[in-house]
Amino acid sequence: MQRYFLSKLGQSILLLFGVLLLVFFMVRVTGDPASLMISREASPEAVEAFREKMGFNDPILTQFGRFLSGAVVGDFGNSLHFKSPAMQMVMERVPATVQLAGTALLMAAVVGIPLGLIGGFNPGSAMDNLGRGLALLGQSIPNFWLALILILIFAVRLGWFPSFGRDEWKSVVMPAFVLGLPTMGQIVRLTRSTVLEIRGEDFIRTAHSKGLEPRTIYVKHVLRNVAIPLVSVIGVQFGYMLGGSIYIETIFSWPGMGQLVEQSVGWRDFPLVQAVAFFVSLVVLLLNLLTDVAYAIIDPRIRYGK
């Protein structure tokens, strides 16, 4: 268990270094980061002064060294637009995004898991078809478009929910629904197929044949095994939502990291984009690590095997 954990930790640290490398070189891929970040009308002197100020004239290894030593203490330089530390700006946006993603995940799980269970235990039933239809829809509807349609219906026409901002509890409902829908579909599919698969296993037949109550079998044997893939998918999906809420935060003017990315891309404020990209990657890697640990705790096969 300890060795398993340590090797996962080592892998994550290596991956994090890879992320830093990527984030550093990405803004340099066109060859001239200064002209990328400064407005196109700037005079050549201004560009040169900017280049000097940002240290783009130094050897690339010096630049990378400086970037790395800053990154380990969370310093990604100043935002070009706000002139204040980039990481601090990102941190201010974290609570809003976490609230949105958390609510979305909760909605997805609360609806998705029961639908998946019902579908798995009664394949072909009306509820099963409903769940599968929902899953397909969640996979196929472009969320940026669904957001617009929902605003049109529930905010403009009916006035049930506010169309933008984060001022009251109702504000989170629409963006969280849109963000959570694809995940809901995935949870339905996964739960359903896992239940179907496990119901056919030998140990379930044995449990039935030795006369256990069906309810005991469902709770103790089936649900426990359904939890394993669900934990991993929920972990992955939460990470995906943190980085994938760009459209939804933009459309609903939700003051989170996704909106910050959209804005800073428009301002060509790349230190800010770098800070968001690094921070979200860090969180995703941590989540993956946590998922692996949770996995090992739930599933003894991983704990003792390999």
Partner: protein
């Protein structure tokens, strides 16, 4: 009785060794029994036909502006007319024509994106799977890095650096999506390499080229075609998303994402401008997902049993 059992055993053996062509023939028969597969195929074909014959079907030039007829609602609403069946946008451009031409952008990105991603991924994955050992460890480490990144965030990041052009969008998706193909290919190569028929091919002295092309490649095609369908649908989706953020093809090109970005500004006054491109994305995506589900069931015999 005994001979019947033997034929059955032979049949199930044949099932494993069935060539790709036989599977396609089987898929054809299977298709008639699977309604959702048919629907998916039809939706996909409609999109392809719309893309190929966009100039013939379009009532107008998609770029032609006609300010007198701007923001016309679709034909079935009171003020609409059959001159513009799906209405016009803020510059009086015909929505139907722009949607038809938009299929070209979407399919081009999807097709070439998958082609690049698939080619890169299959080569990388086959090397990793076949070489094993340290090579495999390094390649898979890199692939896991890319796959663990917040995908959309990095795609937006790269797109904003490279700038708006069709080639850039195709390259971005082609490169960022290749790890998925690599991972699937590696997994399949590992599995096939350990299988009984490859072992027997090696034991009768088959050369590696023959093993690769006669045994490994045909068995790879099924999972890869399925994956390609899903990934193409995903790319069409993401391309529209980038367009919506103003990061895909240049704003003058009629693409679904650009139309959505434009329509968003007139959402409350003229909602149809944003509605129709969204529907187009949805039906394309729906079609390809249904097609992909069906292909997976048909091309992968191991999954077939779990259908019912």
């Amino acid at each position: 009785m005994a001979s019947e059992e033997r034929t059955q055993a032979a049949d199930s053996l044949l099932d494993v060794e069935r060539t790709f062509k036989d599977r396609l023939a089987y898929a054809g028969r299977f298709l008639w029994r699977d309604r959702s597969g048919i629907i998916g195929l039809i939706l996909f074909l409609v999109v392809v036909v719309a893309a190929v014959f966009a100039p013939q079907f379009s009532p107008y030039d998609p770029l032609e502006q006609n300010l007198r007829d701007n923001k016309m609602p679709p034909a079935w609403s009171a003020e609409g007319g059959w001159d513009h069946p799906l209405g016009t946008d803020n510059l009086g451009r015909d929505t139907l024509s722009r949607i038809l031409y938009g299929t070209r952008v979407s399919l081009t990105v999807g097709f070439f994106g998958v082609l690049i991603a698939g080619t890169l991924g299959v080569v990388i994955g086959a090397i990793a799977g076949y070489a094993g050992g340290r090579v495999d460890a390094v390649i898979m480490g890199f692939i896991n890095l890319v796959l663990s990144l917040p995908y959309l965030l990095f795609v937006v990041f790269i797109a904003s650096i490279l700038g708006r052009s069709l080639i850039n969008v195709i390259l971005i998706f082609g490169i960022t999506d290749s790890p998925i193909f690599a991972r699937v290919t590696r997994g399949e190569v590992l599995r096939i390499r350990e299988s009984g028929y490859v072992e027997s091919a090696i034991s009768v002295g088959a050369r590696w080229g023959r093993i690769l092309f006669d045994h490994i490649m045909p068995n790879l095609m099924g999972p890869l075609i399925t994956l390609a369908t899903f990934e193409m649908s995903r790319m069409i989706f993401y391309e529209a998303g980038l367009g919506f953020l103003g990061l895909s093809v240049p704003p003058t090109v009629p693409s679904w994402g650009n139309m959505l970005a434009n329509g968003r500004k007139y959402l409350t006054s003229s909602p149809w401008i944003a509605t129709f491109p969204g529907l187009a994305i949805m039906f394309t995506s729906l079609g390809m997902n249904l097609l992909g589900d069906w292909l997976r069931d048909v091309l992968d015999p191991r999954l077939r049993r779990s259908r019912k």
